[in-house]
Amino acid sequence: MFSFIVSRILQALPVMFVVSLISFAMFAYVGDPVAIMLGQDFTEAQRVALVRDLGLDEPFFVQFAKFVGNAMQGEFGLSYRLSRPVAELIAERAPATLELAFSAALISLAVGVPMGIYTGLFRHSWLSRFLLTFSLVGVSLPTFLIGILLILVFSVWLGWLPSFGRGDVVRIGWWSSGFFTVSGLKAMILPAITLGLLQLTLIMRLVRSEMMEVLRTDYIKFARARGLPNRAIYFGHALKNTLVPVITIAGLQLGSIIAFAIVTETVFQWPGMGLLFIQSVGAADIPVMAAYLMLIAVVFVTINLIVDLLYYAVDPRLRTGRGAGH
């Protein structure tokens, strides 16, 4: 178990290395920080001084090492756009995004998995056909349109739910949470649905096809031939086998929720990292973009690790050291 985690973390290192290299390259070479920081009027002496101050005259790998060192301490410098430390900005915004992503993931799993199981088992029922059509429409609807339509219906026409922002938040240490206030929870609903819907349909289709795949396997046929009740076959044998690939892909999908949060946050003016990021892309605010990239990489590596651990818990073949049949 321990060695498994260690080996996984070791495997994640090159990913982090590559990402930080890209991050650093953006940081150091894109948009010439010296020119940006100096502005219009400067003397050669000032320029040289700034280059030295920023350490830009040092060899590449020294700069890179410094960048990584700073990054590990959460130090990414000042945002060009807001003139504030990037780490501080991101720390302020992270809870909003993570809470939104968490809620969306919860919705997409809690609804998507049962729907996938149902449509996988009862392929020809009218409800399955309806759900499948619905899912196809779901993947064809751009997230931003879903958001706009939801706002139009539930905020403007019906006036039930807020159309923007997080509502009231409660501070727990540096974390700000919208889970503990009525307005916070209400504000969460529409963005979470918007963000979760695409993933929901994807997870549903994934579970469905995996379920169908599993139902075609010999061991399910054999379970039938042994006269096991359907319940035991579907929810004992089929579901657990379905979950193995679903965990992996759902993990990746859930990761992409954080990316799609960019769109949702724009539509709902949700004060998270995504909104910050998109504003930074528009303003070419490289330090924020670089930091966001690093952060997302960490999140993804973490998700992958969790996925691997789940995999490990579900599939006994991994536990005996060498994986058979893979």
């Binding site: 031939a225 657990k240 006994p316």
Partner: protein, 323 residues
């Protein structure tokens, strides 16, 4: 009374180009404790017959007509739930590939216990003891320790033994064994077959042994049915059929039996190949390949008829056949 009776069984597959007849007019019986070998080339309908008996035809395949009776009760038209209770309990099944028939995520013990508790009125503890007993019977060494192992921790031969234990553990009266040794190493095949045969004999279980391995048939079966293109072309006691096959197809097949118990890869002694289901010729389906074909074979389909020691569907044994 026979244990299993199959009467005029017809299985169809509706497709876009019309309906394919996968099994046509298949009739046979199995007596209690009897081993019926079913042989034929791939696609002849052997496995399909087995699937029809246990009521697990793959959609869109369906039984179009005919009857299947178990101890005189019709079972082909039972509702799903009733049929489920028969599967495992009355008719056990062994599939071909032991590597894929066991659920990789559950211990073999769990899979045995759930089968036993599904069908027999025993508690989990007792079921576990029974399971260990079955594992010992099928020859798993150190069964008590290994019952909590996962399938991937066993070798192929051992896994097939586990599969056999699973098929037998609810003490069915009939076993449908679909190519039980094909996927195994040649060296293990004989052991597994021998074990299966001994167990069936001890428990008085009848068996329908589907295989294309004539060696296995010759050694194990009491009677043999030869299938060709969805029909039974000949059926009879193993000794007679092996030595004195009447149907030209059977004769070809038997000619291919090697002298020792060795597996035969292909039945190459007969020229040509079995027709596809979508292109079964008029008359006798074997007529394009038959060395002794004559006019009647081209227009009229032969039923099973007495052919001396066996019954064969061949006009050669009808009245007025050319000598």
């Amino acid at each position: 009374m026979s244990l299993l009776q199959v009467k005029n069984l017809r299985v169809e597959f509706p497709t876009r180009r019309g309906t394919l007849v996968a099994l046509d007019d298949v009739s046979f019986e199995i007596a209690p404790g009897e081993v019926l070998g079913v042989v034929g080339e791939s696609g002849a309908g052997k496995s399909m017959t087995g699937a029809a008996i246990i009521g697990l035809l793959e959609p869109p395949g369906r039984i179009a007509s005919g009857e299947i009776l178990l101890e005189g009760r019709r079972i082909d038209n039972l509702p799903y739930e009733k049929m489920r209770r028969i599967r495992g309990r009355e008719i056990g099944t062994i599939f071909q590939d032991p590597l894929t028939t066991l659920n990789p995520l559950y211990t073999i013990g769990r899979q045995l216990v759930e089968t036993i508790t599904t069908h027999l009125p025993v508690g989990p503890g007792e079921a576990r003891e029974k399971a260990i007993g079955w594992l010992e019977l099928v020859g798993i060494p150190a069964a008590r320790e290994r019952i909590d192992s996962y399938p991937h921790e066993f070798s192929g031969g051992m896994r097939q033994r586990v599969v056999i234990a699973l098929a037998l553990c609810a003490e069915p009266k009939l076993i449908v064994a679909d190519e039980p040794t094909t996927a195994l190493d040649v060296s293990i095949q004989a052991q597994v077959i021998a074990m299966l045969k001994t167990l069936a004999r001890e428990k008085g279980t009848a068996m329908m042994l589907v295989t294309h391995d004539m060696g296995v048939i010759a050694e194990t079966a009491d009677r043999v049915a030869v299938m060709y293109a969805g029909r039974i072309s000949e059926i009879g006691p193993v000794r007679q059929l092996v030595r004195h096959a009447r149907h030209p197809y059977s004769q070809g097949l038997m000619g291919s039996i090697p002298p020792l118990d060795r597996r035969v890869e292909r039945l190459q002694q007969i020229d040509g190949a079995m027709p596809r289901l979508s292109a079964i010729p008029r008359g006798c389906a074997f007529n394009p390949r038959c060395p002794r074909v004559f006019d009647r074979c081209l227009v009229e389909r032969p039923e099973l008829m007495d052919a001396g020691t066996t019954r064969a569907s061949c006009w050669l044994y009808a009245e007025g056949a050319p000598a």
